[in-house]
Amino acid sequence: MRDPNSFASYFNFAQVNWNNLWSATVETVWMTLLSLVFVFIFGIILGLLLFETTGKHTAGAVILNKLTAIFVNIFRSIPFIILIVLLIPLTKKMTGTIIGPRAAIPSLIISAAPFYARMVEIGFHEIDAGVIEAAEAMGASRLQIMWKVLIPESLPAIVSGITVTGISLIGYTAMAGVIGAGGLGNLAYQDGFQANQNAVTLTATVVILIVVFIFQAIGDFAVRKIDKRAIA
């Protein structure tokens, strides 16, 4: 028990300040959900843009498609920890601070939205072209097709995509925590690692896992409820 690095030290739960743990959990969930809302909106818009401009031959569509694709591919490829540092000046302008949960939101959105947009686009491409053609033959406008056909018919992909994205966002918030964004990542790093309190690190880990599992369970349940393609 004396050695702060012993195996047993992981279970010295006296070190855990449950109030701090609770507020860190709330911060993590809050950061994740808030950024997820924006990721959802931007992701669907970008996904629609990608889908609608793919395979078209008009100059406008080709340029729009290329621009969107470049934007999506660049921001999807930048490692999150680098992106957050890169965006510090922007973050400061937008939120007035570079520490705390609010400061993490812009980076979280910018890194996850392109990732999600690709998943949404794939979902749209999985829709049978005949169904879209049927809507066209009924006299549907492009917007009506998006709203009444594309989104409802790819809803399982949209929802399972947002679940996966949400889970990687939880991971990102933990990384953001290390550079001062608060939440469970911050708790594990500062109160756990730097203060040599392994029990805090372990507890933070377990709570993150629980949050992830709950997220996954909700997502899976929603997909099962929505998906009417197979006979129930």
């Binding site: 049978d128 005949g130 169904v131 053609e133 049927a134 809507a135 066209e136 033959a137 009924m138 006299g139 549907a140 406008s141 009506q144 009444k148 056909v149 409802p152 018919e153 809803l155 929505i226 009417k228 393609r229 197979a230 006979i231 129930a232």
Partner: protein, 344 residues
């Protein structure tokens, strides 16, 4: 009226250019069921999609009641499309919507309110015989039921035209019959012009008044279904008619050639009856007049078409040569199409 005026559609692919529709001119009258047959890749789907402008022609025009569809764009085109229903081989229903909601989709697109949509959907569910299945999802329906939903959906906007692209090709024979009966009923009740695309002659025979035969983008033959069944001109048409009217042709061929060998001085006749003639006692009349003729029946069949009954009869006549010639002449005066088969 739907009118194609010298319409061509050319696709350019990386390897070659495809004349999917090649200088087609065609008129389809109001309230008729018009059939277009052809083998896979003949350009039937492309042709029918030119009608509602899902494809734009490379050259030529498609008129619907004097409106040139090829000049329409945007809102005008969408409004026009609301008057043209379409059903598909694979139904193309939205899996995310119930039967009722699928049928209401065109009405939603048009902006009708809930009460109006419900009333119309109820009527249509009744018409296509899906009462009790309103809240089912497409995955819970059989193929025939799915096509009924497709038909109801296509009729939601009270269209003047219904386009059917291989509407029964994914269905078994019994279900095909049911769906064809339903289409006939709709045509008779609502007087909707129907364009029926198919590779099955059977479908055309059963419900169409007029037809065209398509081969590699071209219309090789067109006319009344009954005429085409009686006197097919193009080789392709003969093939289609033969398949439908006399699928056991090979059997008949064998029997005919055997008989020709055994009784070389006999005559093998193929008689084609149609309409009212099929009911007249023509054969017994001939035997009464020429008692010296002996008769064998080789093969016979009768088919129902929209233009009336159509029958084929293969006979062998044996007797004195002059008598046989007189017999055939008599049959000809009865205006039965008589063909002497010398060797099959």
């Amino acid at each position: 009226m739907i009118e194609f005026k010298d319409v061509s559609k050319i696709y350019h692919t990386r390897q070659n250019t495809i004349n999917a529709v090649d200088h087609v001119s065609l008129k389809i009258q109001d309230s008729e069921i018009f059939g277009i047959v052809g083998y896979s890749g003949a350009g039937k789907s492309t042709l029918v999609r030119l009608i509602n402008n899902l494809e734009r022609p490379t050259s030529g025009s498609v008129y619907i009641d004097d409106v040139d569809m090829t000049t329409l764009n945007g809102k005008a085109l969408r409004t026009m499309r609301q008057n043209i229903g379409m059903i598909f081989q694979h139904f193309n229903l939205l899996w995310s919507r119930t039967v009722r909601d699928n049928i209401e989709l065109p009405l939603e697109l048009k902006g009708l309110n809930k009460a109006q949509r419900q009333q119309k959907a109820d009527e249509l569910i009744d018409l296509v015989g899906l009462k009790g299945r309103e809240t089912a999802y497409p995955s819970e329906l059989s193929g025939g039921q799915k096509q009924r939903v497709g038909i109801a959906r296509a009729l939601a906007n009270d269209p003047k035209i219904l386009l059917c692209d291989e509407a029964t090709s994914a269905l078994d024979p019994a279900t095909t019959e049911e769906v064809l009966e339903l289409l006939l009923k709709i045509n008779q009740q609502l007087h909707i012009t129907m364009v029926v695309i198919t590779h099955e002659m059977h479908v055309v025979r059963k419900i169409c008044q007029n037809m065209a035969v398509m081969d590699t983008g071209k219309i090789v033959e067109q006319g009344a279904v009954l005429d085409i069944f009686r006197h097919p001109q193009a080789d392709l048409t003969k093939e289609f008619v033969q398949e439908e009217v006399n699928p056991e042709k090979d059997d008949t061929k064998v029997i005919v050639s055997q008989l020709l060998e055994q009784v070389p001085d006999g005559l093998i006749l193929k008689l084609t009856f149609h309409g009212e003639q099929a009911k007249l006692p023509i054969i017994s009349e001939m035997l009464k007049r020429f008692p010296g003729i002996e008769l064998n029946i080789i093969e016979g069949n009768i088919h129902q078409t929209q233009g009336g009954a159509l029958g084929n009869l293969y006979l062998q006549l044996v007797g004195e040569q002059t008598l046989l010639t007189q017999g055939v002449a008599f049959l000809n005066t009865m205006r039965v199409d008589t063909e002497v088969i010398r060797n099959a």
